[in-house]
């Protein structure tokens, strides 16, 4: 029975989940993936975070590029671009194969959680991966230049606009995907992956039923900070923390999860800046440079929580 619930974004979260799946029975794990950065491009429903997690667990991801499929080709997108189609969001041919299957299933009325389960089964993934919600929930980035859908800001505008805030379209009415509330009920541990709090974890917490489950938890909730030495490993998490929380110290990370955390796992490089931290800290090496590092981080987190 799944006993560990992980809230996760894409790349960093995916690596962490992969490390976890190597140190506990994968069937013990329920991963709740962010869908706030899902998008429709060329008519395809793309779920970048779910796919990063899935590709990581199935050992199909491109480790060097950090996203998408290994041994990928780009012929469909090249052709679409030549014919006037949208090509700003990079979709490889193998990746498109998955998006076609998912999009077709969604159009036939299958919920995203059911499709995701089928895809995971087909790829031999034993971790249970659930989207935060089957309902439409989309992250919008508020900037001085206007509000943008997450991927447009992140990819097309290369996250150059400073972020004044985030909002989650559809969150008011979104229900937790089937299986999530039961997973919280059975859990002996809740983990928050080292993902960007604002655009990877908040969209999950924006689902009322999920936030409620965390607030009422009877088991520990431990977050892994996405910050190493005051900097984001990848992406704009540090810039967003500095602007929206006032800094990139561990205390600024915990501010993002007020009332939801029992402990924060931080990197050795940040051990000197734990002033004002209201939760227990666990100091370890959090940089997942390779698979063994991901496993070691997972082991440290589990050891601290047990």
């Amino acid at each position: 029975m799944p006993r560990i619930v992980v809230l996760s974004g894409g790349v960093g979260g995916g690596r962490f989940v992969r490390g976890l799946a190597e140190v506990v029975d994968p069937a013990e794990l329920t991963v709740i993936g962010n869908v706030g950065d899902d998008l429709e491009v060329l008519g395809l429903h793309v779920s970048p975070d779910l796919d990063s997690i899935l590709y990581g667990l199935a050992d199909l991801g491109d480790e060097e590029r950090g996203w998408g499929r290994a041994d990928e080709t780009w012929h469909a997108l090249e052709e679409a671009a030549r014919l006037g189609g949208d090509a700003w969001f990079r979709l490889g041919d193998r990746d498109i194969g998955l998006h076609l299957v998912r999009t077709d299933a969604l159009r036939r009325g299958e919920p995203l959680s059911a499709v995701t389960g089928r895809l995971a089964d087909a790829l031999g993934v034993r971790v249970r991966l659930l989207p935060a919600t089957d309902d439409r929930l989309r992250t919008w980035i508020q900037t001085a230049a206007g509000d943008f859908p997450l991927q447009e800001w992140f990819v097309a505008r290369r996250h150059r606009d400073e972020v004044d805030g985030v909002r989650f379209e559809g969150a008011e009415t979104a229900r937790a995907a089937p299986g999530i509330l039961a997973a919280f009920g059975d859990a002996r541990l809740i983990l928050i992956a080292p993902s960007n709090p604002y655009i990877s974890i908040w969209p999950i917490l924006a689902v009322r039923e999920i936030r409620d489950s965390l607030e009422r938890r009877a088991v520990p909730c431990v977050a892994v900070s996405p910050i190493v030495g005051g900097k984001a490993v990848k992406g704009p998490a540090d810039r967003m923390l500095a602007r929206l929380a006032g800094g990139t110290a561990p205390a600024h990370v915990t501010q993002c999860y007020e009332g939801l955390l029992d402990a924060l796992v931080i990197d050795e490089a940040d051990a000197g800046s734990v002033d004002g931290l209201a939760v227990r800290t666990i100091v370890t090496r959090t940089l997942m440079t390779d698979a063994p590092a991901g496993r070691a981080l997972a082991e440290a987190v589990l050891a601290s929580a047990s």
Copy 2:
């Protein structure tokens, strides 16, 4: 101004159209393509005949295979198949790029004729290619084993079931695509490509406005027989003619176009079986083994009609 209108199916018709475009100004040609074998597969709207014509004219087709794109890869379909998606209809990666652009445009409400025009422009094709109709029109094959959508019978069942009849779903209400009636009005010559009469040309003629235009024509209409020496060059045209028209002689081909033809172009191999033929015959070599052969056929047809 386009002065020649050609009714065409996919592969054989596409070769003929390509030959024509090499011997007259492509801007003189309006090609009306069959859409009866269009299908939705993996959520993609595929128009096999329009695409065969387009790929031929843009010199992108795989000459050896006879369909699809040259230098093609199959990664998206491989992946879709592994994930439980439909893979009975072979779609290559470059081909999928085009289907994505078309499907997305159709979902946004752009008519098929407009999308097709954009695709042709993007590929530098100067021939005007129009679908017979922007409305949904689908060919069904009636057999002892039941009725099948064209592609299911042709591809998935490998046209093994003998055909008792064909019907065209949606034909009653289908309107000719914009530009078709004007093209007939301006035409000095109407040609019917060497395509399967029943499943490539009849679905075009099933559009009432198109059949009416042909019946009321003031200019010659010349068909090229798809039969060489009593056999189809490719596909089931000979079996269908034998069963539905009683034979594969030129007279059986003209039966398919009763009241619509002024002349029939036949192969030298069929010159001895013109008994009972009510229209003028033009005897030449109709087998388009290569591009020069396609050009020669086009020249012979145009010479006979002028």
